[in-house]
């Protein structure tokens, strides 16, 4: 199939359609508005429904309703809007409803700015809403990977009955790259016996997250835990770049991993053995893969567009085995490849064998 040139935000929309998603509920916010705009045009063409909700709060609850019926459904927003959706996300997790939630991150806290950021990592991977739950969080680094992960995201969401978050940033959403959209997913009917569809002679189905009896709620929490452990064991994804002999491993995700690759290229030209570890699943965090990537490493540099959030998972994964340093830009400022290269050089001097 031939490639088309597409914006990241629009590619999310088209990939969702290819994945069989026919329902989208959203609310406008920069820098992701191209996605609802695109779907408002495309969904009616394929017999789907696009609805602009009165708020992000309403949008996520419409997702909750549509997901309850077993429909493939998506919503998208950017940081402040994702904060508003947290109540609904917690309910989706508690009621074990599959859906895809897109966060094209911008700077915060508060109204923040509209330029790219990675400051919602904690919110995405450590909860965000109330209660003991996890989202499966996927972080694409190119427009092609957006398409691949949106499609896989819907499958994973249904396989585990878990909300999946696609975590990107403003650059990824706005960027155009050539992309192969691939083929349409064929959905099999009748594979969701839990869905509410009208009882039609069977015993009734209930979508619910309320368990007033603590013994029952504990049982429910343990059930969720079991599912999360299974996902941790089976669903980590990551990319390794030049790590086999790397003394300095740069850990970065999304667009910033690509900046890190450019920096590693510069370092390699200067004879510094550097590599990049790029987690694709941010939850579950690819702990084993990071340890493998850093097998030969003397130190790890984490680079983020935040004050240091993923770096905590890097430290937890390495469990004190290696020094972990951090370099970040915030507020919508993006680390340059040269700046990351300078950090690599500094770490190589401090920790490397070649001084």
């Amino acid at each position: 199939m031939s490639k088309v040139l597409m914006k990241g935000n629009e590619a999310i929309g088209e990939a969702a359609i290819k994945a069989g998603c026919r329902y989208f509920f959203g609310y406008p916010i920069t820098p992701q508005s191209e996605l609802p705009e695109y779907l408002s045009r495309r969904l009616p063409q394929v017999g789907g429904v696009y609805l602009q909700a009165e708020s992000e709060v309403a949008a996520i609850n419409m997702v909750y309703g549509a997901a309850s019926t077993g429909a493939r459904v998506m919503t998208s927003s950017s940081s402040p809007g994702i904060s508003l959706k947290q109540e609904g996300i917690s309910y989706l997790a508690g009621s074990e409803l599959p859906c895809v939630i897109v966060n094209i991150m911008r700077g915060g806290p508060g109204l923040g700015g509209i330029q790219p950021s990675q400051s919602d990592y904690f919110q995405a991977t450590k909860g965000g809403g109330h209660g003991d739950y996890r989202l499966l969080v996927l972080a694409p680094a190119s427009v092609q990977e957006i398409v691949d992960l949106v499609k896989e995201g819907f499958d994973l969401a249904e396989k585990y009955r878990i909300p999946v978050m696609i975590l990107g940033d403003g650059i990824l959403g706005q960027m155009m790259e050539p992309v192969d959209l691939g083929s349409e997913t064929t959905l099999e009917a009748g594979e969701k016996p839990w869905a509410v569809t009208g009882k039609m002679g069977r015993t009734k189905n209930i979508i619910n997250s309320l368990y007033l009896d603590p013994e029952k709620l504990e049982k429910h929490n343990r059930h969720l835990e079991k599912k999360y452990l299974e996902i941790k064991a089976k669903e980590t994804r990551s990319e390794l770049y030049q790590t086999s002999d790397a003394e300095i491993v740069v850990a970065a995700y999304g667009m910033i991993a690509r900046v890190a690759k450019a920096a590693v290229d510069m370092a390699r030209e200067e004879g510094i053995r550097a590599g990049v570890f790029r987690p694709i699943t941010l939850w579950p965090y690819p702990e084993k893969e990071l340890n493998q990537a850093a097998a030969q490493a003397k130190a790890v540099l984490t680079v983020e567009m935040s004050l240091g959030q993923m770096v905590e998972d890097v430290r937890l994964s390495l469990n004190g085995r290696l020094p972990v340093e951090f370099y970040g830009r915030v507020g919508g400022m993006v680390p340059t490849a040269r700046a990351v290269y300078e950090e690599i050089k500094r770490l190589a001097k401090t920790y490397g064998e070649v001084k």
Binding site: L5, M176, E177, V259, A337
Partner: protein, 190 residues
Amino acid sequence: MLKQMILAGFGGQGVMSMGQLLAYGGMLEGKEVAWIPSYGPEMRGGTANCSVTISTAPISSPLVTEPDIVVAMNRPSLDKFEPMLKPGGILFINSSLIDRPARRTDITVYYVPVNEKAGILGESRVANMVMLGALLQAEPVIKPLSVMESLKKVLPENKHHLLPLNAQALAMGAEVVKEKSNKKTVCNVG
């Protein structure tokens, strides 16, 4: 081959579409490409810019912080992006609207009066195509023919009568670059 560019001007000068045509044309030639726009309120009235990367190898970072090529369609763009150019890079200045020469002395500069040239064609909106023609003559990152192919795909059928005009604009820009007097490797133009 890896070339990174920043194209900048004010909203309405067609810098975004200039960049998209480069990216689209590069894709049609089977190259790796990426296009990143500036976004936000600055698009509405202020300065707009986009970054384009065209490469024969996979692109590690599509973020352009040290461009090989800068196109400045207005004065604020020149002030902002001239300092970012790589040493030895190429700077295109829209001399119809920009009243100062380049300040760098380690780059190649082309002065292209795109608005005057577009005026000769009787269509001010092809000024960006004049600049694109100049760019591709000085640094053939893709073939002008690929730009025309992209235009065919991007423009709706009912606008295809504008294709010859756009081809003329490209050629006109290329002519400006061919005239040696418009090129300055060391900046000394008053």
